[in-house]
């Protein structure tokens, strides 16, 4: 396994060593796949979209100017491709995308008998699955991909302030659900 940086791999691919592109695919496939699954809520479709994204990225590699990290540039492709796919499927995403003034409310469909087991961790992870598209994307990039808010704002082409608001609102919504479902005792 070659131990190259993203830039070195890209330079090598640009020089004609196309097989080195596999290194980039291996590096980002699972992280990008996680983002897509959280956005599209369908693993098969996500894999198909991810293939398109890697093909698009390869084709546009010549346009990559190294002004940002490859990961940020690639996530922008992934995020935009997922949005295009969603709009093509005519899902009602407008309400989620239009404004941050929208009220974020997570309706817990968690079975109360299950909740009685006081497994807060499991409960939180169930709630994460219910986060709206934009919120799920920010959470995924921030926590799973360890991207900074600046990088996320660049990838999602949204202002830094908006990204922070989304991040805080997501946490607050999850926290409120924990309090509402009496997990406080377990945590104290």
């Amino acid at each position: 396994m070659k131990n190259l940086t993203d830039i070195e791999i890209i330079e090598s691919v640009k020089k004609g060593n196309h097989s080195d592109y596999a290194l980039l695919i291996d590096k980002y496939k699972n992280k990008a796949f996680s983002l897509l699954v959280r956005m599209l809520k369908n693993e098969m479709e996500s894999e198909e979209v991810l293939q398109d994204c890697f093909l698009k990225a390869f084709k546009s590699l010549g346009n990559f100017r190294q002004e940002s990290k490859f990961s940020t540039w690639f996530y922008r492709i992934v995020y935009n491709t997922a949005l295009t796919r969603l709009s093509a499927k005519k899902r009602k995403i407008e309400t989620e995308m239009s404004s941050l003034d929208d009220h974020l409310e997570i309706k817990s469909e968690y079975d109360y008998r299950e909740a009685e087991q006081k497994d807060a961790s499991k409960y939180i992870h169930k709630l994460i699955e219910q986060l709206p598209l934009k919120y799920a994307s920010v959470i995924n990039m921030y926590y799973l991909d360890n991207m900074s808010c600046e990088e996320i704002s660049e990838a999602m082409e949204t202002s830094l302030a908006n990204i922070k608001v989304i991040l805080h609102r997501s946490r607050n919504a999850l926290k409120d659900q924990l309090i509402k479902n009496n997990y406080a005792e377990e945590l104290l």
């Binding site: 196309h18 097989s19 592109y21 596999a22 695919i25 291996d26 496939k29 699972n30 992280k31 796949f33 996680s34 699954v37 693993e43 996500s46 894999e47 991810l50 293939q51 890697f54 093909l55 390869f58 807060a120 961790s121 939180i124 992870h125 994460i128 959470i139 995924n140 921030y142 926590y143 799973l144 991040l167 805080h168 946490r171 607050n172 999850l174 926290k175 924990l178 309090i179 997990y183 406080a184 945590l187 104290l188």
Partner: protein, 175 residues
């Protein structure tokens, strides 16, 4: 006593408070059990989000993309070869026509293909070539040449699109 908003709690977790605000918030935690609880909840959420699980693509994902890329680059090479071949054929035809006109003009100027022409003959050769081209450019000849070229372009276009369609069919056969 200050009121700790969710915003402040989030900034506390993200370590984005200045020193003054930080000491104020810490003081507040000492005095308020409900704020401590809210912070504990938020920290728990933060920790759990940090444990977010990654989904995994199928095992042969990388090889599928690489084979698609390989197919695509083959198609690009094939297209390039096709375009170069067609251009070469046109170029050769053009050269042949120019060569023929040149030889004809050279003979008309009184030169011989066996002897090296005198430098003075070049002017008359060039004049003859241009007059031969002018002679060719009659309305009738232009329409004939135009028809031939149009026919060639149509055939080339058909072959090119057929080639593209075949390449797309091959790509779609991939898993």
């Amino acid at each position: 006593m200050i009121e700790l908003s969710d915003e402040i709690l989030n900034n506390y977790i993200d370590d984005e408070l200045d020193q003054y605000k930080l000491s104020e918030v810490r003081e507040q935690f000492k005095n308020s059990e409900s704020d401590r609880l809210r912070l504990a909840m938020l920290q728990r959420v933060h920790r759990e989000l940090g444990k977010l699980e990654s989904f995994e693509v199928s095992g042969n994902f990388t090889s599928i993309i690489m084979s698609k890329l390989q197919k695509k680059s083959k198609v690009v090479r094939k297209d390039r070869f096709f375009m170069v071949s067609i251009s070469s054929i046109f170029f050769i035809i053009l050269l042949a026509v120019m060569g023929y006109l040149f030889i004809m003009s050279f003979n008309n100027a009184g030169g011989s293909t066996q002897n090296v022409p005198d430098i003075n003959n070049y002017f008359s050769i060039i004049t003859n070539v241009s007059s031969s081209i002018k002679g060719l450019m009659t309305p009738k000849n232009i329409s004939i040449i135009g028809s031939i070229l149009s026919f060639c372009i149509i055939i080339t276009g058909y072959l090119f699109f057929e080639n593209q369609r075949q390449a797309k069919r091959n790509l779609s056969k991939l898993p």
